[in-house]
């Protein structure tokens, strides 16, 4: 495997990690909430897509379209009725409640779907590849990467070009003053988490089509998402994509040297960034 080839694989893998991370980043940006169940929600969405594919016989992409509004609803309910109660100055309640939620989701999935590894079948797309003057790239990783770019463009449009996005940013700046504008923060937070769950659905689609997953796969996904966010710098979605790419490249390079070092190499890249650029590589100017 040539070096350029490894690099390309890593960059494309970074797209998947950016998808894991975008929802985490959105929720943190708006309500300073770190959801320790984020990874488990990705896996939950993957099982939901799998369920839709197997029961309705839909194409995975169509199944994701069906799953996305369901996940939005789940996120909305979760935030409105559970997580909003934990928000405040103290960071302990949201962390412990989402930690508990992570355990609940994992074990709920174990009971419903057993510990077996699953995969969402994408048929021909799984093995198809495109040739770029000697370097070949899988269609699936390419589609994943393009999707992550599209998701980030759409999210930026939402945040910077719509009235909902203005309400997101205003609430993030100052909750109390936002209520004076007629904004209901609890609804805004619920919509934000709902939106994050739609991104989670996209992430879950590719997670499930690219590799096997099982009910305990969530925590590792949370960690990759977290690393991508911190490497990129808080508050910037393009930074998060860059963070995902760096993490992806570090992992593929590590794996090329020794397959056992894949995950470790990613962690070490993260620690190096933390050592030399504790605010991440592309932090937002303000805040």
């Amino acid at each position: 495997m040539s070096f350029i080839d490894t690099l390309l694989q890593g960059i494309l893998l970074g797209g998947l990690y950016a998808l894991f991370a975008a929802g985490l980043s959105l929720v943190f940006g708006i309500m300073r909430l770190v959801n320790l169940a984020h990874g488990d929600l990705i896996v939950l969405a993957a099982f939901l897509i799998l369920l839709i594919v197997s029961t309705l016989g839909l194409d995975p992409f169509l199944a994701a379209v069906v799953a996305a509004p369901l996940m939005f609803g789940l996120g909305w309910l979760l935030q409105y009725y559970l997580l909003n109660r934990t928000l405040g100055k103290d960071i302990l309640p949201p962390l412990l409640v989402t930690f508990g939620l992570s355990i609940v989701i994992q074990n709920g999935l174990l009971e419903s779907f057993t510990a077996d590894s699953r995969r969402i079948s994408a048929n021909a797309m799984e093995t198809a590849s495109v040739d770029f003057g000697g370097i070949s790239a899988g269609v699936m990783p390419l589609v994943t990467f393009v999707s992550s770019v599209l998701v980030i463009v759409a999210l930026n449009q939402l945040i910077y070009r719509t009235s909902l996005g203005r309400a997101f940013r205003a609430t993030s700046d100052d909750v109390v003053t936002a209520t004076l504008m007629g904004i209901r923060p609890n609804s805004i937070f619920a919509i934000a988490t709902g939106t994050a769950m739609m991104i989670v659905t996209v992430a879950a689609l590719y997670l499930g089509m690219r590799a096997n997953f099982d009910p305990t796969a969530g925590p590792a996904r949370l960690i990759y998402a977290f690393e991508a966010v911190i490497i990129g710098g808080l508050g910037s979605l393009w930074g998060t994509l860059a963070g995902g790419i760096i993490l992806g490249v570090a992992q593929t390079v590590g794996a090329a040297i020794n397959p056992e070092w894949q995950i470790l190499a990613g962690h070490i890249a993260f620690l190096l960034v933390l050592l030399f650029r504790p605010r991440g590589l592309f932090p937002r100017a303000m805040d």
Partner: protein, 240 residues
């Protein structure tokens, strides 16, 4: 016909600390009233209570005769009551124009105020509309805060300490806008520490001290010595 706003024996607490002790004020349609008083007199607490930032007993505050004391800020706002908060409280990550647009979030129906009419009122804001709101001068920021409140087309505009920390010439500019705001038929409550400024624009004045109303009336009927007594709790000659 009931008053636009009426408070009845309004009390307010911050934890164990009582900030208001039975405050009664009235605001009639189209009227401008001023609430004056020293630091800590309870003026801001009164504004925070009326606007819903502090939740009170429901019947302590009436809007057109209907109780609103226990409503939260977004619901009060939707009834056409907008607050320009003390210290302006602009959204730092939004531009000037975005701050104004956010003000229209809870807008109900049509009214005189749009981005265009706000820019007519404060032309400088149009020039600077793409700037981050907090990059503006203090006076311009205050204009954004007032414009943001107006964007909801309120019938009642509450202004908390809008001249605090601004140069006299800037204060004059800002108060010049009030005649235009009044002309749209909106009722205005101005909270001020600057007595002279308040007396100049208000139809009626309430003076507060230590959480109580100590004096009220039309500016022309009020004696300077009475105001001093109501404001400082002492005869003017005892002051140094």
């Amino acid at each position: 016909m009931p008053s636009l706003i009426e408070t009845r024996g309004l009390t307010a607490f911050y934890g164990d600390f009582q900030a208001l002790f039975g405050v009664d004020i009235r605001l009639e349609p189209g009227e401008t009233i001023a609430v004056i008083g020293a630091n800590g007199a309870g003026k801001s607490t009164l504004m925070r209570s009326v606007s819903g930032l502090i939740v009170n007993r429901h019947e302590m505050i009436l809007h057109r005769g209907e109780p609103i004391g226990a409503l939260a800020a977004p619901d009060v706002m939707r009834r056409g009551i907008a607050l320009v908060p003390e210290g302006r409280k602009l959204f730092a990550s939004l531009t000037v124009e975005e701050n104004l647009k956010v003000g229209a979030c809870g807008r109900q129906g049509d009214g005189p105020w749009t981005l265009e009419t706000i820019y007519d009122l404060f032309p400088i804001l149009k020039e600077r509309r793409r700037n981050p709101a907090t990059a503006l001068s203090g006076g311009q920021q205050q204009m954004v805060a007032i414009g943001r409140a107006l964007m909801s087309n309120p019938q009642i505009l509450l202004c908390d300490e809008i001249s605090l920390g601004l140069a006299p010439v800037v204060i004059k500019d800002i108060y010049a806008a009030f005649s235009k705001i009044r002309a749209t038929g909106a009722a205005i409550v101005i909270v001020e520490q600057d007595i002279a400024q308040a007396l100049k624009v208000a139809d009626r004045v309430y003076c507060m001290m230590e959480g109580r109303i100590t004096l009220s009336g039309c500016p022309r009927d009020l004696d300077r010595a009475d105001i001093h007594a109501a404001y400082f709790g002492a005869e003017p000659h005892e002051l140094h």
